[in-house]
Each structure stands twice: as structure tokens, then as C-alpha cells.
Subunit: 272 residues, 2 copies
């Protein structure tokens, strides 16, 4: 089944459940473009407590599409929490077919991006299907498709000038020191964060910039820090001062702002 | 000034500001015991945004009491956030006098406990002056003093049976991979947590138990996990299942519950 001449994109949900509405809207957008086949795995709609199905179900769906030679790209449905619970098994004994496709996502999917990149797979940080529900979210979906189908330069973060890695700061902090931590040497590191108090952003920056591996980055840039939770007492700083300060303390070149974040404007950062 | 025959305890605040009420109540309790001299450093009452004074002021007070030969014990005033911002400088070029005293605290002070233990100083996880404001908090203060002044067995966590380390789980997660991470090999690791959603506790346990160093612990025990923030959707687990599960996944022996936490019952765990 499916048109073999068309690019085939599989959607799986390694973290939380994809909304039916988001799925329908993205399917309609893909139909309108007429360029590719989108296969939303039924696992995306499972629900088990916090997760899009139990660990075993999420892992099985992910491994299934990774091993499927007819799949050109694996698009993570959304973030939330939970991909770290299956990342070890997801990256073990990789089938050859897993190496001939691209993986796209961000936020909690950063655990997979990190591990897959370290394993030599082709990975990018960028919009996910659930983002269609954001204000102006169609633009994020078109951008993701522009990149997945055409590798359009216009989809890319605008100031990339060498190999780069991009992560949610809190997710990055939570895989440091594990088997899934990639090599940062000589790369640009871009971070964004969402839904944290500024003292937590400060603490995560302490953690990240205190790593010998991270101190080898070429430079660090800051995406958007959104939905900041109020701090009592007021933290008396802002996200850019926090990030620039920890860069200065740790001898990392701070490269300014980057055009990524938990929003519809989130640009694509292919890992290199 | 001060009676040289009495034990001298200095209080400094490397994180957040100590309340005047807590200070007065602890001073009154110390006077009533008549066994020791308590010197609450004026830095404890400074306030600079989130912190008990700017980094330089907190560091100067800490280094001052560490270098003071007349001080037998340094008691961290309270947690909150911020000791990580000065831990590197606090532990650099240690004066000899820093090695002849004991350091007591928990929560955010865990950054200092970890780094000081790694540097060979005598460190314990236990109640702090601000805890007097908790329900039944006097018991926590008496327990801390029992341990600081008499090394009373009754102050200790009841199931210790070998070298142990104790940390707030989130603080532990945030110093992994830094120069302040202690050697866990052969030790018991006790963790407690406060004010997190269960998905964060789960994520922190992933992070902690994925470290090669942590996997060398003799066993891991779980203190109290309090003030849990509701999760949407419900996380469908509890703290002990979460911790036992990550121990099982990572080959760490789970040793059951431990009598520490962000509460008045918090027992003392001397690091070894």
C-alpha cells in the first residue's frame, strides 16, 4: 500500500499522546501538498498514564518504523515526557534500515536526538505534528515538511555556520553523563527552555556549562525561554544574562540568540 | 570573645536568606542547652534577588568561617537555591582550618556537601536552622545539635550500615558530571525530593541511575518525597515504584525507605 514514488514519513510518539485533532490537521496539510505519504502510527493515540502507551508499546512502534525500509523519515509526534524511558533499547542493535532515514523532533524527543546522533543516525531538531495546535502552528508544520521533503534552506535556523546540536536545556541536563550524551567538541550548542522557573534555568546552565565535554563547544546560543514560571522572590535576572553569565564563567563563547523554541517559529537545526 | 572551652558553630547561608525568626528561635534553643556557642554570620540576613546576598558576599562569609580555626562546625542556614554558584570557589585552595571542622546541611547545600566530601572534608546531611519553622521543627534543631555536639547515635538515620551519601535527588542530578561529583563506589546512596512533579522524579532517577559512577553504589534508599506537584495526566505511579523500577533497570540494589526528607523528622547522614 502507498505510492512508492512518494517520500514516506512515519509518525510515532515516544513520549506523550498525539491529539486526534492535531493528527487530522497535519494529515490534511500533507494531502494538500501532495508530495508525500504520511503514516501516523496507531501507537500515537494510545494512552497509559502519562504516556502514549506503555514503554513496550512506544518502543515497539519506534523500532518498527526504524526498521522499515519503506520509511524515509521518522517524525516524533510530540514531546511531554517519556522518550528517555525507551532510549536505551531504541538505540541498541540498530537495523541497517534505521541508518538510511532522518529523524525529526525536539523537546523531550531530545533524548532520542542525542542518542541517535551519537549512534551516527541523521537527526534534526525541529517542529512536530502536535505543534499544529499552537498559534500559527501550520507554519511550523509547513517548515518541518519543507525540510523533510526538500531540505529547504528557508526552514533552517538562520545563523547556523557549522556543525550544530540543539536541545531543550532541561532535557540536555538530564542526559549528561549517560551513554546517550553526544560529543560536543567543536560544535555549536543551541538551547531553549520552557515552563521552568529562572532559578532552574540558572541551575541547568550551571550543570551544562560545568561539563568538560560541553566546554569544548565552538559556541553556545540561546533559543527562546518561554512560559517562565514566576519565582519568589523575583530572580532579578533574565534568561540571556543567565546564559551569558554561565558561558563567561566557563570559558564558553556565547553566540547570542537563536531562532528555536517551544513555539510556531521554531526553526530546524540539523545535527552535525 | 566567646567561651573558648565551648564548641563553636558558625551559621552561613550559601543559598537563600535565613529568617530572623528562625535565627532567634535557634539562638534561644542553643542558649537553653548551654553547651555551645552559635555564631550566626550577618551574611545570613542579606538579600539580593533570590539569594542571601550576592555570590561574592555568600562566598566571602563561607570562606571566612571555613578558614576560622575557632570554628568547630559550619552549619548551613537553609536551602533554596544558589550554593552551586559559589561551590567551585568555595572548594578551591582549601585552608588547613577547613579540614578540622564539620559541615552540616541538606537540600540545595548538597552541592557543597558533594564537593566538600570529594575534597576530603567532614560532611553530613541533616537539619538546618531554618527548619525550626517547620511543624515540630524544634526536634530537627535538637537533633542537629545532638549530632554536632555529641555525635549522638539517636540523631542518625536508623538503618545506616556502612559508608553513605545523601542528597536531594534534583540537586544530585544537577551536579553529575561536574568536578563536584563524589565517588559513589561501594557507598549507600540515599535520596529525597521535594516540590517536583512525579514525571520529574522519574526523569531524575533515569539520569542518576544511568551514570556509570552511580551504578557502583552498594545500594540506594529512598527518603521522603514531599510536596509533590500534581501531574496532568496523572503519573499513574508513586515515588517508591519509580525509584525501585529505575534501580531494577540499572542493576542497583534498592534498599527500601530511609528516614530523611524535607521535614522535621529528617535524620542525620554523615558522609563516609
Amino acid at each position: 500500500m502507498g505510492d512508492k514514488t512518494k517520500v514516506r514519513i512515519a509518525v510515532v510518539a515516544p513520549s506523550c499522546t498525539l491529539s486526534r485533532e492535531a493528527a487530522a490537521r497535519v494529515e490534511e496539510m500533507v494531502r494538500a501538498r501532495g508530495e508525500c505519504e504520511l503514516v501516523i502510527h496507531p501507537q500515537c493515540f494510545l494512552s497509559s498514564g502519562h504516556f502514549a502507551g506503555a514503554d513496550a508499546a512506544r518502543l515497539a512502534a519506534l523500532r518498527e518504523v526504524m526498521a522499515d525500509e519503506s520509511v524515509d523519515a521518522v517524525w516524533f509526534a510530540r514531546g511531554g515526557y517519556g522518550s528517555n524511558r525507551i532510549v536505551g533499547a531504541a538505540v541498541a542493535d540498530l537495523p541497517a534500515a534505521a541508518r538510511s532515514k532522518t529523524y525529526l523532533g525536539y523537546s523531550d524527543a531530545g533524548f532520542l536526538l542525542a542518542a541517535f546522533h551519537r549512534a551516527g543516525l541523521s537527526v534534526a531538531h525541529g517542529p512536530m505534528p502536535q505543534d499544529v495546535l499552537r498559534d500559527g502552528g501550520e507554519a511550523a508544520i509547513e517548515r518541518a515538511l519543507d525540510w523533510l521533503l526538500q531540505r529547504s534552506d528557508s526552514a533552517l535556523e538562520g545563523s547556523l555556520d557549522g556543525p550544530a546540536l540543539a536541545f531543550n536545556l532541561t532535557v540536555l541536563s538530564n542526559f549528561l553523563g549517560t551513554d546517550f550524551e553526544p560529543d560536543f567538541a567543536g560544535r555549536e550548542l543551541i538551547v531553549e527552555d520552557v515552563g521552568e522557573q529562572l532559578y532552574r534555568t540558572d541551575r541547568s546552565m550551571f550543570h551544562v556549562t560545568s561539563q568538560a565535554n560541553v566546554r569544548k563547544v565552538r559556541r553556545l546560543r540561546l533559543g527562546r525561554v518561554s512560559e517562565v514560571i514566576a519565582n519568589t522572590p523575583d530572580f532579578d535576572s533574565d534568561e540571556e544574562r543567565i546564559v551569558a553569565d554561565w558561558c563567561a564563567r566557563s570559558g564558553i563563547a556565547y553566540g547570542g540568540r537563536a531562532d528555536i523554541g517551544h513555539d510556531a517559529a521554531n526553526k530546524v537545526v540539523p545535527f552535525g
